[in-house]
Symmetry: C2
């Protein structure tokens, strides 16, 4: 099985040159995140993920999880790797220092999490869920709840879950039916079945803390009657140690296409009198807290699209360098390594350029998140938050769709061997498949982008972003040479396409929401493609500056070549996507339902 080598150089380039790590380190609270410290952290993370997590990716997939007697046993090696993960402090990286966290900014944890996800996506879902649960308790928990749970969750000694979905309530949380009955002592007893619960049970930690959505007896119908509860697997003793087993059990695990080493559990609360939990925040406001957490989770799932692209790319490059097959199309004395075939090269460049574009966008959004959280100036905070809100569905939707397309190409590069499971390329494609679905499907991301993030505010934020893109385009156009000419032309067409589609959305959304919404996913795709191109253009400008300054690192010409490839092969789709948005809505809906 192939190894994973964290792309340190590109990560540091994006952090320092595109995401503005120095500016983040100047924010109050993030002073420790100097470039040197961050590089040292990433170096350690690269060793841990490459050495410990990556080798378990394939074995975990093949062995899968084992369910017996209402408990899940993880594949070989996961328990030990998790212990090391906790001991090394990785889980606490972004945690609040009040509860033992290291308080590093999101732009740094994003890079570290990319490594977790590239190395072993199944493993990475455990801390992803724990971090989400921590965020919920930080946001709305009482001091008592925080003291009881957070230190052990921040360290990773205890893990967390989100008990949200029910069979009839997937994307539609209004349909949640689980019941929470107050016991008069400040606790509730919870009854109900939850499905698709990631790491709902496992043997890597001594306790699992479930955040559960349920309805109190007199709750109003629909989304306004849902409350959030914290329900530990083992009730917590007065001294903080795990005590009696709570009445929440994993009754089965799913047989899935991918992420076989991540237990996806059916959880039953209350087969024996009710699981005992306490209310988090206010009654009936559970969904509000959930949505805050969800933004973080959506960003993290977007990182999965990037991470799996990077891993699939490394795997494909390694094969393409080794595999000798066929003569060169222009003629060659002997068969050549397939990396020399033009179409193999084109596929590898698609994977590479997409990984770079997604990384630049994701880290830039993470840096804006840090500024939105900590900037001393309120207007700066608001502006950054607006950018984050606009871009979260793009990072989530576009990066995960791209991760699927790129891991598909990774299989293709391998030819027949790609279809054989032992080769490992197919696993990336199988694992990627869930990313466009969980934490909100691509359709849901696209509706969020089009409706809440654009139409509702008349396109105010996106217009600011488009202006920034136009400035980059002008800077690119001012550079000499064919690469920058190609970039300027492609970016110009791309920005025009975004503008055309945005104007259409703003003008028509409230008048004819169904027709406009039929173009939501093409619009999200367009935003991703063009935002990625914007990032690649920014990267090319930095690289050009370095070269002009006499830097001879081949990284810089490679960055410009990759940006140009992206302009020539990815940005070309932009005008067609805009046409789908502005012209295609009606025909998507025209066919009578009976004719399907």
């Amino acid at each position: 099985m192939s190894s994973y080598v964290a792309p340190m150089k590109d990560m540091m380039f994006v952090l320092t040159e595109l995401a503005g790590l120095e500016k983040v380190a100047a924010l109050p609270g993030y002073e420790e995140a100097s470039t040197d410290v961050v590089e040292a952290i990433l170096d350690e993370s690269a060793k841990f993920t490459g050495g410990v997590l990556a080798p378990l990716n394939w074995t975990g997939d093949q062995e899968g999880v084992t369910w017996t007697d209402k408990s899940v046993t993880m594949p070989k090696g996961f328990k030990e790797a998790y212990a090391q993960f906790v001991d090394n402090g990785w889980n606490a990286l972004s945690g609040n220092p009040e509860h033992g966290g290291q308080g590093l900014p999101k732009v740094v944890s994003a890079a570290v999490q990319e490594m977790w996800k590239s190395a072993n996506m199944s493993f990475s879902l455990c801390p992803l869920l724990t971090l989400g649960a921590i965020e919920a308790l930080e946001l709305a928990g009482t001091d008592e709840q925080k003291a009881m749970y957070l230190p052990n969750m921040v360290s990773g000694k205890w893990t967390g879950t989100m008990n949200i979905t029910e069979p009839q309530a997937g994307s539609d949380l209004a349909a949640i039916r689980s019941r929470a009955v107050p016991q008069g002592d400040g606790t509730y007893r919870i009854f109900g079945q939850k499905i698709f619960i990631t790491y709902g049970d496992h043997d890597m930690a001594e306790n699992t803390i479930h955040l559960v959505l349920a309805r109190t007896p007199d709750a109003p119908e629909g989304v306004k009657g849902i409350s959030l509860f914290v329900v530990p697997k083992f009730l917590v003793n007065a001294d903080g140690t795990p005590g009696a087993r709570n009445d929440v059990y994993c009754v089965s695990t799913e047989h899935k296409l991918g992420i076989h080493a991540s237990p996806t559990c059916v959880m039953v609360h209350g087969d024996n009198g009710g699981s005992i939990g306490t209310l988090v925040g206010k009654e009936n406001e559970g969904l509000k807290y959930m949505f805050v957490m969800m933004n973080a989770a959506r960003f993290a799932v977007g990182l999965e699209g990037l991470a799996i692209t990077e891993r699939a790319y490394q795997h494909a490059v390694s094969y393409a360098r080794d595999r000798v097959q066929g003569r060169a199309i222009e003629g060659s004395p002997a068969p050549v390594e397939i990396i020399r075939h033009p179409d193999i090269r084109r596929m590898l460049m698609l994977m590479r350029s997409h990984a770079e574009a997604m990384r630049a966008l994701a880290y830039s959004v993470a840096a804006a998140h840090d500024a939105a959280a900590c900037h001393p100036d309120a207007a700066e905070r608001a502006q950054n938050q607006a950018f984050v809100d606009l871009m979260i569905p793009v990072v989530k939707g576009w990066s995960t769709e791209t991760g699927n397309a790129m891991s598909y190409l990774g299989v293709q590069v391998h030819g027949g061997m790609g279809f054989i499971e032992e080769t490992g390329a197919a696993q990336f494609m199988r694992d990627a498949r869930i990313t466009t679905i969980y934490e909100g499907t691509t359709g849901i991301q696209a509706n969020d982008l089009m409706g809440r993030k654009i139409a509702r505010e008349g396109g105010a934020t996106i217009k600011v972003v488009v202006e920034a893109m136009r400035q980059t385009q002008k800077d690119v156009a001012a550079q000499a040479g064919p690469a920058f000419a190609a970039l300027a032309s492609a970016l110009g067409r791309g920005i025009d396409a975004v503008t055309q589609a945005t104007d259409f959305i703003v003008a028509n959304y409230s008048k004819d929401v169904r027709t406009v919404a039929a173009g939501a996913v093409p619009f999200l795709q367009l935003m991703g493609v063009v935002s990625g191109g914007w990032m690649m253009a920014r990267a090319a400008l930095v690289a050009q500056g370095k070269l002009a300054g006499g830097d001879t690192d081949p990284f810089y010409p490679a960055k410009i070549a990759t940006a140009r490839f992206y302009a020539d092969h990815v940005m070309t789709a932009a005008p067609g996507l805009a046409l789908e948005v502005v012209q295609g809505g009606a025909s998507a809906l025209e066919l009578d339902e009976s004719m399907f």
Copy 2:
């Protein structure tokens, strides 16, 4: 698990209105293929595939094949289904009447085979390989070989395989090393290992006839030294019955991403003195015969892309009709079936319109194949053959890439349930994944299209096809109404894109083949998209004619709506694809190999 209902109405529409079934039935030898007879055959095939093959698709996937003691056992039910398949005469449908076949034209067998493949792709690979082996023996076998093998192969009593690939010789057949040593009695002893051998061993038939590529002792190096041999699993007695076991064995089967019920075998010839075979055709001309067979096999694999799209579409529609989740975006008193959500509708329309476009193209190519084979006029034969040769890589490459993209969408329509294997949607995606690889990867199809089929003849054939497309575009533009205006505009842009890219290829291919070849796959994609749009436009014109004639069948407005959707959402990609071809070659190759 979902059922499969053959799309009889669209099949008959395409056969009679677009592929010209009546004209095919007027060709000498195909007189029996009247519309009534064909419809009756398809009706029977629909019953057999829906009732017998489709229910084994999911169980076959889950059980997989079993390998023990150098033999393969098929999943439960396959042996019985195959016996019924043979008894009903399905294997003999397109076979030569001299050997017991029914001699039906390819346009009819294409429709029947689409059903096999939709119902159960793993099963369908057995007759696919048998038909290929029959074709090789028909083409180049001696009378004795034909008499010995063909009657039992045409009936399906014996099955066939292609023993082509070796570990070092995948796409590159020049690297084949298997040896064939003449015994002085007209037979040869074969030694070598063959991999990826579909249905190399199984328990559904009493004998398996391997067509094997190998080198004789004094053969020249490379592709000019490869000969074709026929090597039965059981040597054939003088009375035609299977006799002694030959020295060719399946030593293992592959653990694959999909088509789990199709045994993919490693075959070893000659561990005990050599497998005994006879030469097919002339020594050192094996590759020539292989390429003739390969065209048929490529067409058949193209049908798999169509077939799996149709099945995934039916599966997704069925779920989208039943699954209630979320309110309508424009507001609704209660949650609605998800087929009412605009993005679900868009995905279903993508699947539907692609299935219709691929079907129309594939059947039209099949009809041209029939005319190329049987037309009394030599010029007609040549013209049809040129069209077939041009379009085979498009049918293969574009339909299989599309089948992957559409089965991916089928999973997406199912949301979280799509990722659960028991839902069945994921199987279509897994099964589809091999189709862009075997019988020549998409890259190989694209090089064939661009090099052998276009550049080599200066674009002569494609120019004729483009002229036909332009005529259709004019006819469409002459119709009233917004659907036809949209179709005319999209088709016009698409044809211009094909013309632009073709002119570039013809002008530059010999000058700079590497750069041009880097655009081969985008060009193939462009040809597929626009050829599909051409077919949809032809279908819309026929439908409009029916409506103008007073026909009130809702099939016709649906066909026009589907064609318009295809114009609005698929054809929109054409100009961008052409740009990739004409501008993008250099940047695909620019990055230094050391930088990957």
